[in-house]
Amino acid sequence: MFRAIWAWIQKFSSPKYFFEMSARLIPWFAIPAALVGAYGLYLGLFVAPTDYQQGESYRIIFIHVPAAWMSLFIYVVMAVSAAIGLIWQIRLADMIAAASAPIGASFTFLALVTGSLWGKPMWGTYWVWDARLTSELILLFLYFGYMALQSAIEDQRTADKASGLLAIVGVVNIPIIHYSVEWWNTLHQGATVAKLDKPSIDISMLIPLLLMALAFKLFYAAVVLVRARNEVLLRDRSRRWVRELIEKL
């Protein structure tokens, strides 16, 4: 039984099988991402009403919050993949982790900058060293650290081990970011959507927010596949099937 499952995992996690499957999968994520994103943008910018306190400036929420959610989500995907790669020696998992890092870093950067652009008119400052903002900045450094280790270490296996370890250790930062607004006095407000209570946002604003979050997730799924395919080509470049395939491209 266990053997059968293991054989199954081996088959589906083989880079060759992944390369063939992912080509078919990408449009199934990319096209819905564009459609859901366009509809979310339309609802967020044209239909959602003005906020009672923040006026039109609150519309930054439709990109800031999904970007911040993605920064955490992608980190968890990256760390879990790295752990799978480290423990079960599944090479595809290491490739997914390596492919996720730059995307996660870009969403973290986006969350920080859009937050800053929202903070200036509302809070009165671009930046404060409160727990939420500081822990999110540390997340960006964790992504950078992972990417730097990946590119600096020549031997791929060593690189995966070192960067994977960093990614796993860095997971402690994830709950810190989420609960920072509860554990400490922060300038950043508390959770709006992710709480046991019902979300404290009007439904007409919540729908575009969730649509944009879904669009970002689908977008990530599409681009992480593109990047992971690059990792397959690069890491298996001396294997016969890659060479034969590349001659046809």
Binding site: D51, N185, L187
Partner: protein, 155 residues
């Protein structure tokens, strides 16, 4: 080849060093701002630093804001619904600064027991709704209050 490898080794060490420094800096920033601001109750209890600048957070008491007509000076009372303290500030206030709104002010206590702020930041809540909904909510809240006070009156 060997110099390239040496350079890479250096880079790895640099990266690890950078991550370590970033973590230490982050943690010390955390330590310092673990309690990003003090409440008026904590300030009254003497928990806030006396010699250096610190932050206080609370709500701006309704009707307490006094603006000077010719300068940017503003005075208001800050409360956490238990204790309150007077604050004075000179400068441009953020758009969200209004009576009843949460703010965080950076500054020091003067001898008169007034908090002299060098920076005032608005802290907004996690609620988002259109103005009509906010007005309707407020109306029902006021009604509930009236009913509540009527009940206490009859007691």
């Amino acid at each position: 080849m060997s110099t390239k490898r040496g350079r890479r080794k250096m880079l790895v060490i640099l990266v690890l060093f950078g991550v370590a420094v970033a973590t230490v800096l982050g943690l010390s920033a955390f330590e310092e701002n673990l309690l990003y601001f003090y409440s008026p109750t904590q300030v009254k209890a003497g928990e806030a630093p006396k010699t250096r600048a610190f932050r206080v957070g609370g709500l701006v008491v309704k009707g307490s804001v006094v603006r000077a007509s010719d300068t940017l000076n503003v005075q208001f009372v800050l409360t956490d619904n238990t204790e309150s303290m007077p604050v004075s500030y000179s400068g441009i206030l953020p758009d969200l600064f209004r009576e009843g709104q949460g703010i965080v002010a950076m500054g020091t206590m003067n001898v008169a027991g007034q908090f002299v702020a060098s920076e005032v930041l608005a802290k907004h809540d996690e609620n988002y709704m259109p103005p009509e909904v906010a007005a309707a909510l407020k109306a029902t809240e006021d009604k509930a209050k009236q009913v509540g006070s009527a009940n206490t009156n009859t007691l």
